[in-house]
């Protein structure tokens, strides 16, 4: 069912929905960007409509609730282990189509990759989605190339803000009643989606081993500063590392934490004895890119990258990952032509 609501009535809906649930949405954090007087859009819990940033694309992805940047898994003493408490309420996450497609990638890694990750599962089970329609393509988006520009299902309702009014396509019956009680009017609503992006990529079919040795990667050894920002903003990067923290000198009381990791930063491939598999930034870039558009597909049947473009948007060195995909494709096609 489609409904049109004012800002205030949308807030009332959120309050009603929020009685038993938490609402997690993109929020424009004033002045919290990297530079002075620069905002950043990242996810947080909200209670009112104006808090939700529906216009700008979020700089950081929704994944922080499913795979927190830093999460205490359990506490331990000498003879006891206690799992960290968690909020048992259902969560509704507001996200765009590319991000909704990213959930499938996270699920693949955490639920379908031989083992089920219990810490992911316990929060994932509580999560539902609300789709934010895309009225325009943003700089750096290439969702159309990745086939993630449109969401068919998998969400409770969609929201589009047009001219100060909010348009909802509500798929869930229980919520439909709440929306209906606040709606200015009922009409057919379809979530907006884009059909073309300025940035286009061509995903190579099979990537031959020769591409691993291609000189195209060398440039990034020099250009990339291995800051990992591209990983931390990515909705599909899932790597983490474990930390055992001891509160006391005797080392018998403490906690186990899981923190986000990046395949670009130093230390990621360190192994005992001081070895490091991927020393240069070019090698790390090769690993990242091929994982996103090739290796993952070999295992799961679809590409990991959803084309949200956040990695391009955040890179301080103006490295375009989208452009790298096209370079890889050229290398593959060139290679094919050259035999």
């Amino acid at each position: 069912m489609g409904y049109v609501l004012s800002r205030d009535s949308f807030t009332r809906v959120l309050k009603k929905i929020g009685q038993s649930r938490r609402i997690y949405a993109p929020v424009n954090k004033v002045g919290e960007g990297r530079f002075t007087d620069v905002d950043v859009v990242r996810y947080d819990f909200v209670t009112e409509a104006p808090e939700i940033e529906l216009d700008k694309k979020s700089d950081y992805a929704f994944k922080e609730i499913l795979t927190p940047l830093s999460q205490t898994l359990f506490f331990f003493t000498e003879d006891e282990v206690k799992e960290a408490d968690m909020d048992e309420r259902e969560v509704i996450i507001f996200l765009r189509s590319c991000d909704l497609h990213a959930v499938k990638r996270l699920d693949a890694i955490y639920l379908e990759n031989k083992f089920v990750d219990p810490f992911y599962k316990r929060i994932r089970d509580k999560v539902r989605f609300a789709l934010i329609g895309c009225g325009r393509s943003y700089e750096d988006c290439f969702c159309v190339s990745m086939g993630t520009n449109r969401a068919d299902g998998g969400y409770l309702f969609s929201v589009d803000m047009i001219g100060g009014k909010y348009y909802f396509d509500v798929k869930d019956d229980e919520l439909a009643a709440i929306f209906a009680s606040e709606a200015e009017s009922e009409q057919a609503v379809e979530a907006r989606y884009v059909t073309e992006n300025e940035v286009k990529v061509t995903i190579p079919g099979n990537v031959p081993v020769s591409v691993y040795k291609d000189p195209l990667w060398e440039e990034y050894t020099v250009r990339c500063i291995n800051c990992g920002r591209c990983n931390f903003v990515c909705p599909t990067c899932t790597c983490f590392t474990m930390q055992d923290i001891f509160y006391t000198d005797n080392g018998r009381v403490g906690e186990r934490r899981r923190v986000g990791a990046s395949c670009m930063v130093d230390g990621y491939t360190n192994v005992a004895g001081g070895g490091q598999y991927r020393r240069t930034n070019g090698e790390r870039m090769r690993f990242k890119v091929l994982h996103k558009i090739h290796d993952f597909r070999k295992r799961f049947g679809f590409d990991m990258c959803v084309g949200c473009g956040r990695c391009d948007m955040v890179c301080p060195e103006y490295i375009s990952y989208a452009n790298i995909i096209n370079k890889v494709n050229d290398a593959v096609e060139g290679g094919a032509v050259n035999g």
Binding site: K29, G31, E32, G33, R34, F35, T36, D37, V40, R42, Y60, P68, L69, S70, C227, G228, R229, N231, F232, Q243, I245, F246, Y247, R257, V259, G260, A261, S262, V265
Partner: protein, 329 residues
Amino acid sequence: MARDINTKKLKKNAFRYSKVRGETASRIRIPGGVINAKSMARIAEVAEKYGNGTIFVTNRQGVELPGIALEDMDAVNSMIQSIIDDSGVNQEERDKGYPASGTRNVVACPGSRLCPFGCYDTTELARKMDKMIFPSHLHVKIAFTGCSNDCAKVRMDDFGFIGMTEPQYDPNRCVSCEQCIKYCSIRSVGALSLVNGKVVRDTAKCIGCGVCVAYCPTRAWTRSKEHYFRVVIMGRTGKKNPRLAEDFIKWADEESIFKMVRNAYAYVEEYIDPNALEGKEHIGYIVDRTGFDEFCKWVLKDVNLNEKAEVASRVYWGGRHYDRSNDLM
């Protein structure tokens, strides 16, 4: 007609006394060093029409137009009116040029309008400061710089304002990547360390440069909502005792620094040597004479510094005293 020029008036009207007899240079005041392209074009026009076709870019972000005939000063003054309007510099009478030159152009680095490290809008504060203190015949130099890199070289000025931010840490967003620690150590003072997987900031050591914020990949570090300033005072060049400005206050707030400068003018009015040559005595030498405590008493009068601010109990200046010795070490 005989050439009869009041050189005292000429200087106060922001024209330079030139070694070339019969010539002068027009000194254009550009607070914060930012001017519209239209005014820049006008400057070029004046240089072409009345000057010798060259433009001297000064150390204090003004420009001087040399080679102007003394007879053309009035014409130049009316031609630079649009520049004065544009740069928002206070004036007493239209078409009469600048009413003073003693209080020097207020300098600023590019600051947060351009520079990734800028902790505040230096241009805006330089303009605001110029509005407050100009015109004045008192010889005072003020400069704003966005961060501790001090690209504006504010330590050469009577009052230098160095931008600071108080980094805010959210441990829940920290992934222990240690980039803040690394860059604070390489680019700044090394005030951060990792304890139990989280970052600890040595608040006494931290200079508020914001490098950690710029490098944190997750927004675990963010800037404080408040903009803070390190206030350095009484730096100078010159023949007698050139020296760098020394730290007076750290973590000062904007309102307080403006009040302090206003107070400093009252202090100079009170203590300036009435017999000073051409009525000009640098504030730093006045402080040398009255002592730091008297300066403090005047400058901090009715100033309500924010809670975070720390004021030096003593300030010691170094530099060479050529009036005492010209010997090399």
